[in-house]
């Protein structure tokens, strides 16, 4: 018998808001976190805009000691630690005391695409000058993929599984499902799940070279990320972190914790880069299969879905994603669930996208609203052929939601879909 799993804490570091209250207000108002970055222009990027969360030096010191900040140069770990520790505090769970036993029943799955890129760059310069001895003791901790889960693990004193997953843009959603499975199967009581992504040119450069990010909005940054729009011209790179504290229902009830929502289950798969699938393109059959399997795992009918938090990156593939949802759910026109994309406001936060967007989905579910889609006043005709434009709100809608889906699709032809329900 699987244990029921609920969400009792949230943490968010997004380009348009840091902390749940600020982020909630931003998404309700459709506030953009996208800005122009002169550094990108100086480096000859085609796309000179991006999404970077604002973190003051003072705020850093609320989470890190001076010693931890010495030689620290990993924005992904910074964002992940803030989001992760905020989710812990939100859930009312204290780290274990320094000289006591670890929290054996609390684990961490915190994903990333790559860690400490700026630190790695620093190290490579020293190393190439023959100065390997000058790297210091913190290069490994900041540049290993599992740096973020290791930082959080130490701050919290987590004693269950502490790991980092990586599946490109599906990372965050996958992390939630990995944590869910661990609790559902009785191997852990509490799992801090989330994902993070570094910001800046060294993460974004490869995407610029691939011409998958937009070059058309360097002078109009807040209009650059245009999911579902006929004039979408590529995504806008973002960064940040999202975190969700998952917990068994019994543990949450025993503690008297505030419950945001239940995680009903979900599915993870891959299109195997077969058929239309490739390193960069999804196999639609796999996407549809993933969505259908998520419904089965959650034990719900497609008709029960009230809302979809899409992947919807603002490329030419958005209409394909809508078609896949429509086929998988067998719903179209005005029968289609509400759908939106956070990427219009924050850009594509890459490995962080799944968790950042999942936090937005849980907030909408808990508070009963659908945030406005921005920059899609000109909906793509292939989208409106399939689903009614009123199902793609351009204004904030206050409406009770019962059951919602969040899906993410990533490079390598990988998919993840999770279902949340109000409790």
């Amino acid at each position: 018998m699987k244990k029921r799993v609920v969400i009792t804490g949230l943490g968010i570091v997004a380009p348009n808001g840091v902390g749940v209250p600020q982020f909630t207000e931003a998404i309700k108002k459709g506030v953009s976190g996208i800005a122009f970055y002169p550094q990108l222009r100086a480096l000859n990027f085609s796309c000179q805009i991006g999404g970077i969360p604002t973190i003051s030096e003072e705020k850093k010191r609320d989470y890190f000691t001076e010693l931890q900040l010495k030689n620290f140069n990993s924005s992904g770990i910074l964002y992940g630690v803030i989001a992760g520790m905020d989710a812990m505090r939100d859930a009312g769970i204290s780290p274990s005391e320094k000289n006591k036993a670890p929290l054996w029943d609390l684990g961490i799955v915190f994903g990333t695409g790559t860690s400490g890129v700026d630190k790695f760059r620093e190290a490579i310069y020293k190393l190439d000058e023959g100065n390997v001895r000058r790297l210091g003791s913190t290069t490994v901790g900041q540049t290993m993929a599992s740096g973020i889960s290791a930082y959080l693990g130490g701050m919290i004193g987590a004693g269950n599984a502490v790991t980092t997953n990586s599946s490109a843009c599906a990372t965050g959603t996958e992390a939630i499902l990995m944590g869910y499975e661990r609790i559902a199967s009785g191997q852990a009581n509490q799992m801090l799940c989330g994902s993070t992504s570094d910001d800046g040119p060294y993460v974004w450069g490869g995407f610029d070279a691939m011409k998958v990010i937009t070059y058309k909005h360097n002078d109009t940054p807040t209009e650059g990320s245009r999911p579902m729009s006929a004039s979408a011209s590529g995504f806008v790179p973002g960064s940040g972190a999202g975190a969700l504290l998952l917990e068994s229902l019994e543990s949450a009830q025993e503690r008297g914790a505030t419950i945001y929502a239940e995680v009903l289950g979900g599915a993870i798969n891959s299109g195997g880069q077969r058929g239309e699938g490739s390193m960069t393109a999804p196999n639609s059959e796999a996407v549809q299969k993933c969505i259908k399997e998520a419904l089965v795992a959650a034990g719900i009918a497609a008709s029960e879905l009230d809302y979809i938090n899409g992947h919807l990156t603002a490329t030419i593939k958005d209409s394909v994603e809508i078609a896949n949802w429509s086929e998988a759910l067998d719903r179209r026109g005005t029968d289609f669930p509400y759908i939106n994309s956070l990427k219009g406001m924050v850009g594509h936060c890459l490995a962080a996208s799944g968790s950042v967007e999942a936090v937005s989905a849980v907030l909408q579910l808990q508070q009963g609203f659908v945030f406005p889609n921005v920059n899609c006043e000109d909906l793509h005709p292939e989208i409106t052929q399939r689903i009614a434009s009123e199902r793609i709100p351009r204004q904030l809608i206050q409406t009770p939601l019962q059951t919602v889906a969040k899906a993410s699709f990533g490079f390598g032809d990988v998919n993840a879909c999770v279902i949340f329900r109000k409790i």
């Binding site: 000691t65 001076e66 010693l67 010495k70 030689n71 320094k98 000058r134 210091g136 003791s137 913190t138």
Partner: protein, 84 residues
């Protein structure tokens, strides 16, 4: 450079790496860096880098092996500065 002058410059470097539960006043010339002051042994390499920058010297791997207390560090520094 006198041993006192070196100690004055060395002390703040060492204090930077103290764990939160060890007070700055606990540091003296005889203190064992890892055993008594509880400094994470991984940070010894960072201390050495800071010392190198401060005194414009370079530690060899063998010097690292001899480094236990502040007095050890002072001895190594005096020798290196003298050789310079």
């Amino acid at each position: 450079m006198t041993s006192e002058r070196i100690y004055e410059k060395l002390l703040p470097i060492i204090q930077t790496y103290l764990p939160e539960d060890v007070s700055k006043e606990a540091v003296n010339r005889e203190s064992d860096l890892t055993r008594e002051l509880n400094i994470n042994s991984a940070h010894l390499v960072d201390i050495v880098l800071d010392v190198e920058d401060q005194f414009d010297i370079e530690f060899a791997n063998e010097d690292m092996e001899q480094l236990r207390t502040l007095n050890d560090a002072i001895g190594i520094i005096m020798r290196k500065v003298g050789e310079r």
